[in-house]
Protein backbone atom coordinates (compact mmCIF):
# COMPACT_ATOMS: atom_id res chain seq x y z
CA UNK A 1 0.00 0.00 0.00
CA UNK A 2 1.27 3.48 -0.84
CA UNK A 3 0.82 5.71 2.20
CA UNK A 4 2.44 9.02 3.08
CA UNK A 5 3.73 10.89 6.06
CA UNK A 6 3.84 14.60 6.82
CA UNK A 7 6.88 16.29 8.26
CA UNK A 8 7.62 19.97 8.86
CA UNK A 9 8.98 20.40 5.32
CA UNK A 10 6.14 18.71 3.43
CA UNK A 11 4.69 15.33 2.54
CA UNK A 12 6.62 12.24 1.38
CA UNK A 13 5.55 8.78 0.22
CA UNK A 14 5.81 5.70 2.41
CA UNK A 15 5.16 2.12 1.31
CA UNK A 16 3.35 -0.03 3.90
CA UNK A 17 3.50 -3.81 4.05
CA UNK A 18 2.05 -6.45 6.36
CA UNK A 19 -0.68 -6.69 8.99
CA UNK A 20 -2.51 -3.79 10.66
CA UNK A 21 -1.66 -5.10 14.11
CA UNK A 22 1.56 -6.20 15.76
CA UNK A 23 5.13 -4.93 15.51
CA UNK A 24 6.25 -2.41 12.87
CA UNK A 25 9.69 -2.08 11.31
CA UNK A 26 10.66 1.25 9.76
CA UNK A 27 13.14 0.40 7.01
CA UNK A 28 15.55 3.09 5.80
CA UNK A 29 17.25 2.15 2.54
CA UNK A 30 20.81 3.31 1.71
CA UNK A 31 21.41 6.91 0.60
CA UNK A 32 21.90 8.35 -2.91
CA UNK A 33 22.70 5.91 -5.73
CA UNK A 34 22.75 2.91 -3.42
CA UNK A 35 19.10 3.63 -2.62
CA UNK A 36 17.92 2.88 -6.15
CA UNK A 37 20.00 -0.29 -6.34
CA UNK A 38 18.42 -1.74 -3.20
CA UNK A 39 14.75 -0.78 -3.62
CA UNK A 40 13.65 -4.14 -5.05
CA UNK A 41 15.71 -5.86 -2.39
CA UNK A 42 14.14 -3.79 0.42
CA UNK A 43 10.63 -4.49 -0.86
CA UNK A 44 11.43 -8.23 -0.97
CA UNK A 45 12.56 -8.12 2.68
CA UNK A 46 9.40 -6.20 3.63
CA UNK A 47 7.19 -8.77 1.86
CA UNK A 48 8.93 -11.64 3.64
CA UNK A 49 8.48 -9.83 6.98
CA UNK A 50 4.77 -9.43 6.18
CA UNK A 51 4.50 -13.20 5.73
CA UNK A 52 6.07 -13.56 9.17
CA UNK A 53 3.37 -11.29 10.62
CA UNK A 54 5.52 -8.16 10.90
CA UNK A 55 4.58 -4.87 9.26
CA UNK A 56 7.09 -2.64 7.49
CA UNK A 57 7.02 1.06 6.65
CA UNK A 58 9.40 1.99 3.83
CA UNK A 59 9.51 5.80 3.66
CA UNK A 60 11.11 8.05 1.07
CA UNK A 61 13.34 10.60 2.75
CA UNK A 62 13.17 14.18 1.41
CA UNK A 63 15.35 14.34 -1.70
CA UNK A 64 15.88 10.56 -1.90
CA UNK A 65 14.15 7.80 -3.86
CA UNK A 66 10.92 8.99 -5.49
CA UNK A 67 10.79 12.20 -3.43
CA UNK A 68 9.97 15.34 -5.38
CA UNK A 69 12.09 17.43 -2.98
CA UNK A 70 15.27 18.53 -4.82
CA UNK A 71 18.32 16.72 -3.41
CA UNK A 72 20.23 19.98 -3.01
CA UNK A 73 17.64 21.09 -0.41
CA UNK A 74 18.10 17.94 1.69
CA UNK A 75 19.90 18.36 4.99
CA UNK A 76 20.71 15.92 7.77
CA UNK A 77 18.30 17.85 10.01
CA UNK A 78 15.49 17.49 7.45
CA UNK A 79 16.11 13.75 7.27
CA UNK A 80 16.13 13.50 11.07
CA UNK A 81 12.82 15.40 11.27
CA UNK A 82 11.37 13.15 8.57
CA UNK A 83 12.38 10.00 10.48
CA UNK A 84 10.79 11.40 13.67
CA UNK A 85 7.60 12.10 11.68
CA UNK A 86 7.58 8.51 10.36
CA UNK A 87 8.06 7.16 13.90
CA UNK A 88 5.13 9.33 15.07
CA UNK A 89 3.00 8.14 12.16
CA UNK A 90 3.38 4.44 13.02
CA UNK A 91 3.71 4.62 16.83
CA UNK A 92 0.00 4.06 17.47
CA UNK A 93 0.93 0.37 17.53
CA UNK A 94 3.75 0.81 20.01
CA UNK A 95 7.35 1.91 19.52
CA UNK A 96 8.60 0.75 16.10
CA UNK A 97 11.82 -1.11 15.34
CA UNK A 98 14.27 0.61 13.02
CA UNK A 99 16.11 -1.25 10.24
CA UNK A 100 18.79 0.76 8.42
CA UNK A 101 20.98 -0.16 5.49
CA UNK A 102 24.43 1.28 4.77
CA UNK A 103 24.61 5.08 5.12
CA UNK A 104 21.11 5.32 6.60
CA UNK A 105 22.88 4.46 9.87
CA UNK A 106 23.50 8.25 10.19
CA UNK A 107 19.77 8.48 11.00
CA UNK A 108 19.26 5.65 13.47
CA UNK A 109 19.66 7.83 16.56
CA UNK A 110 16.05 9.02 16.29
CA UNK A 111 14.26 8.83 19.65
CA UNK A 112 11.24 6.59 20.18
CA UNK A 113 12.46 3.35 18.60
CA UNK A 114 12.52 0.00 20.35
CA UNK A 115 15.56 -1.48 18.63
CA UNK A 116 17.96 -0.91 15.75
CA UNK A 117 19.02 -3.47 13.13
CA UNK A 118 21.81 -2.41 10.76
CA UNK A 119 22.76 -3.99 7.45
CA UNK A 120 26.35 -3.34 6.29
CA UNK A 121 26.34 0.08 8.00
CA UNK A 122 28.85 2.81 7.11
CA UNK A 123 29.32 6.28 8.63
CA UNK A 124 28.36 9.42 6.74
CA UNK A 125 31.96 10.17 5.80
CA UNK A 126 32.23 6.81 4.02
CA UNK A 127 29.08 7.68 2.04
CA UNK A 128 30.67 10.97 1.05
CA UNK A 129 34.04 9.35 0.29
CA UNK A 130 32.32 7.01 -2.17
CA UNK A 131 30.67 9.93 -3.96
CA UNK A 132 33.89 11.99 -3.98
CA UNK A 133 35.90 9.09 -5.34
CA UNK A 134 33.39 8.34 -8.10
CA UNK A 135 33.41 12.04 -9.00
CA UNK A 136 37.23 12.08 -8.94
CA UNK A 137 37.44 9.37 -11.61
CA UNK A 138 36.17 11.76 -14.26
CA UNK A 139 35.54 15.14 -12.66
CA UNK A 140 36.22 17.26 -9.60
CA UNK A 141 38.98 16.15 -7.25
CA UNK A 142 39.58 19.15 -5.00
CA UNK A 143 36.87 19.97 -2.47
CA UNK A 144 38.87 22.38 -0.29
CA UNK A 145 37.05 25.43 -1.72
CA UNK A 146 33.56 24.01 -1.12
CA UNK A 147 31.92 25.91 1.75
CA UNK A 148 28.88 27.56 3.26
CA UNK A 149 28.67 30.20 0.54
CA UNK A 150 29.15 27.76 -2.35
CA UNK A 151 26.31 26.74 -4.65
CA UNK A 152 25.30 23.05 -4.40
CA UNK A 153 27.98 20.70 -5.74
CA UNK A 154 27.35 17.91 -8.22
CA UNK A 155 28.78 14.57 -7.12
CA UNK A 156 28.21 12.00 -9.87
CA UNK A 157 24.71 13.34 -10.52
CA UNK A 158 23.78 14.11 -6.90
CA UNK A 159 23.37 17.79 -6.08
CA UNK A 160 24.56 18.28 -2.50
CA UNK A 161 24.27 21.50 -0.56
CA UNK A 162 27.12 22.38 1.77
CA UNK A 163 25.14 21.68 5.00
CA UNK A 164 24.50 18.04 4.04
CA UNK A 165 28.05 17.63 2.68
CA UNK A 166 29.53 18.98 5.92
CA UNK A 167 27.21 16.93 8.15
CA UNK A 168 28.07 13.68 6.36
CA UNK A 169 31.78 14.53 6.39
CA UNK A 170 31.64 15.12 10.17
CA UNK A 171 30.10 11.70 10.83
CA UNK A 172 33.30 9.65 10.82
CA UNK A 173 32.26 6.63 12.91
CA UNK A 174 29.14 4.59 13.61
CA UNK A 175 27.43 5.66 16.82
CA UNK A 176 26.60 3.47 19.78
CA UNK A 177 22.92 3.63 20.76
CA UNK A 178 20.98 3.20 23.98
CA UNK A 179 18.46 0.72 22.54
CA UNK A 180 19.23 -2.91 21.55
CA UNK A 181 21.40 -2.88 18.42
CA UNK A 182 22.20 -5.69 15.98
CA UNK A 183 24.64 -5.47 13.05
CA UNK A 184 24.56 -7.81 10.05
CA UNK A 185 27.22 -7.74 7.33
CA UNK A 186 28.22 -9.78 4.31
CA UNK A 187 30.97 -12.30 4.89
CA UNK A 188 33.50 -10.49 2.64
CA UNK A 189 33.22 -7.42 4.87
CA UNK A 190 35.94 -7.58 7.56
CA UNK A 191 34.19 -5.11 9.91
CA UNK A 192 32.65 -6.33 13.18
CA UNK A 193 29.13 -7.78 13.09
CA UNK A 194 26.74 -9.92 15.13
CA UNK A 195 26.00 -12.03 12.06
CA UNK A 196 27.80 -12.50 8.74
CA UNK A 197 25.99 -13.86 5.69
CA UNK A 198 27.13 -14.77 2.21
CA UNK A 199 25.43 -12.83 -0.56
CA UNK A 200 25.75 -10.09 -3.16
CA UNK A 201 26.49 -6.49 -2.09
CA UNK A 202 23.62 -5.20 -4.25
CA UNK A 203 24.32 -1.61 -3.16
CA UNK A 204 27.55 -1.81 -5.18
CA UNK A 205 25.96 -3.09 -8.36
CA UNK A 206 26.40 -0.99 -11.50
CA UNK A 207 22.81 -1.94 -12.44
CA UNK A 208 20.04 -2.70 -9.93
CA UNK A 209 20.02 -6.41 -9.14
CA UNK A 210 18.42 -8.78 -6.68
CA UNK A 211 19.49 -11.60 -4.37
CA UNK A 212 16.33 -13.44 -3.31
CA UNK A 213 18.16 -15.88 -1.04
CA UNK A 214 19.90 -13.06 0.84
CA UNK A 215 16.63 -11.10 1.16
CA UNK A 216 14.90 -14.16 2.64
CA UNK A 217 17.73 -14.82 5.08
CA UNK A 218 17.84 -11.18 6.21
CA UNK A 219 14.06 -11.07 6.67
CA UNK A 220 14.30 -14.16 8.85
CA UNK A 221 17.05 -12.63 10.98
CA UNK A 222 15.17 -9.34 11.28
CA UNK A 223 11.93 -11.12 12.21
CA UNK A 224 13.72 -13.14 14.91
CA UNK A 225 15.35 -9.96 16.21
CA UNK A 226 12.04 -8.06 16.38
CA UNK A 227 10.37 -10.94 18.26
CA UNK A 228 13.30 -11.15 20.67
CA UNK A 229 13.24 -7.40 21.37
CA UNK A 230 9.46 -7.49 21.85
CA UNK A 231 10.04 -10.23 24.42
Amino acid sequence: MIDHYDWSGGREAMLRFGPDVGPVVIMLLPLFDEHNRTRTFGVAIARALAEAGIATALPDLPGQGESTTPTELATLEAWQQAVVAVIDAVSGRGAPHLAVMRGAAVLDGAPGTKSIWRLAPIPGRAVLNDLRRAEAVSGRKDWSAFGLDSPPANLVGNELGWPLYAALDAHDALDTRDVPLRTVRLDNDPAVADLKLSGTPLWRRAEPGHDAALAARLAQDLADWVRRCDG
Binding site: N129, D130, R133, A134, K141, V156, P190, R205, A206, E207
Partner: protein, 95 residues
Protein backbone atom coordinates in the same frame (compact mmCIF):
# COMPACT_ATOMS: atom_id res chain seq x y z
CA UNK B 1 65.18 -10.91 1.33
CA UNK B 2 62.87 -12.77 -1.05
CA UNK B 3 59.75 -14.68 -0.05
CA UNK B 4 58.70 -16.09 -3.37
CA UNK B 5 56.19 -18.60 -2.00
CA UNK B 6 54.45 -15.90 -0.04
CA UNK B 7 54.43 -13.51 -3.00
CA UNK B 8 52.83 -16.13 -5.20
CA UNK B 9 50.19 -16.83 -2.57
CA UNK B 10 49.44 -13.11 -2.27
CA UNK B 11 49.20 -12.73 -6.05
CA UNK B 12 46.75 -15.62 -6.34
CA UNK B 13 44.66 -14.29 -3.46
CA UNK B 14 44.59 -10.78 -4.94
CA UNK B 15 43.52 -12.10 -8.34
CA UNK B 16 40.69 -14.11 -6.72
CA UNK B 17 39.42 -11.05 -4.84
CA UNK B 18 39.67 -8.76 -7.90
CA UNK B 19 37.66 -11.27 -9.96
CA UNK B 20 35.03 -11.60 -7.25
CA UNK B 21 34.67 -7.83 -6.75
CA UNK B 22 34.40 -7.19 -10.50
CA UNK B 23 31.75 -9.90 -10.71
CA UNK B 24 29.82 -8.40 -7.76
CA UNK B 25 29.92 -4.81 -8.95
CA UNK B 26 29.49 -5.32 -12.69
CA UNK B 27 26.90 -8.05 -12.23
CA UNK B 28 28.76 -10.42 -14.56
CA UNK B 29 28.60 -14.14 -13.88
CA UNK B 30 31.38 -15.82 -11.91
CA UNK B 31 32.11 -17.88 -15.05
CA UNK B 32 32.61 -14.75 -17.15
CA UNK B 33 34.80 -13.19 -14.45
CA UNK B 34 36.78 -16.42 -14.28
CA UNK B 35 37.56 -16.04 -18.00
CA UNK B 36 39.14 -12.57 -17.53
CA UNK B 37 42.83 -12.66 -18.40
CA UNK B 38 45.57 -10.05 -18.02
CA UNK B 39 44.62 -8.41 -21.33
CA UNK B 40 40.86 -8.24 -20.71
CA UNK B 41 39.88 -4.58 -21.09
CA UNK B 42 37.99 -2.91 -18.22
CA UNK B 43 37.67 0.91 -18.04
CA UNK B 44 36.75 2.13 -21.51
CA UNK B 45 36.10 -1.43 -22.71
CA UNK B 46 33.18 -2.56 -20.53
CA UNK B 47 30.26 -0.10 -20.85
CA UNK B 48 29.00 -0.90 -17.33
CA UNK B 49 32.40 0.02 -15.85
CA UNK B 50 31.59 3.72 -15.40
CA UNK B 51 33.01 6.09 -12.77
CA UNK B 52 30.50 4.93 -10.16
CA UNK B 53 31.47 1.30 -10.80
CA UNK B 54 35.17 2.21 -10.62
CA UNK B 55 34.53 3.74 -7.19
CA UNK B 56 32.61 0.65 -6.06
CA UNK B 57 35.35 -1.71 -7.23
CA UNK B 58 38.17 0.27 -5.60
CA UNK B 59 36.30 0.74 -2.33
CA UNK B 60 35.37 -2.94 -2.10
CA UNK B 61 38.99 -3.90 -2.85
CA UNK B 62 40.15 -1.60 -0.05
CA UNK B 63 37.66 -3.09 2.41
CA UNK B 64 38.19 -6.71 1.47
CA UNK B 65 41.99 -6.58 1.22
CA UNK B 66 42.69 -3.98 3.90
CA UNK B 67 44.58 -1.66 1.55
CA UNK B 68 44.34 2.10 1.00
CA UNK B 69 44.12 3.58 -2.49
CA UNK B 70 44.57 7.35 -2.83
CA UNK B 71 42.27 9.07 -5.30
CA UNK B 72 45.24 10.63 -7.11
CA UNK B 73 46.62 7.16 -7.84
CA UNK B 74 43.47 6.35 -9.79
CA UNK B 75 43.91 6.78 -13.52
CA UNK B 76 42.98 5.16 -16.79
CA UNK B 77 46.17 3.08 -16.95
CA UNK B 78 45.67 1.10 -13.74
CA UNK B 79 42.05 0.51 -14.70
CA UNK B 80 42.62 -0.32 -18.36
CA UNK B 81 42.92 -4.09 -18.07
CA UNK B 82 42.36 -6.87 -15.59
CA UNK B 83 46.12 -7.42 -15.51
CA UNK B 84 46.88 -3.74 -14.76
CA UNK B 85 44.32 -3.55 -11.97
CA UNK B 86 45.51 -6.80 -10.40
CA UNK B 87 49.16 -5.69 -10.55
CA UNK B 88 48.29 -2.33 -8.98
CA UNK B 89 46.41 -4.00 -6.13
CA UNK B 90 49.08 -6.68 -5.62
CA UNK B 91 51.75 -3.98 -5.28
CA UNK B 92 49.62 -2.31 -2.60
CA UNK B 93 49.02 -5.60 -0.83
CA UNK B 94 52.68 -6.57 -0.60
CA UNK B 95 53.65 -3.28 1.03
Amino acid sequence: MWHRGQDLETAVQVETVVRRVLSEVLGVSAARAEAFNADTGLFGALPEFDSMAVMSVLTELEDQLGILIEDDEVDGDMLATFGALTAFVAAKQSR
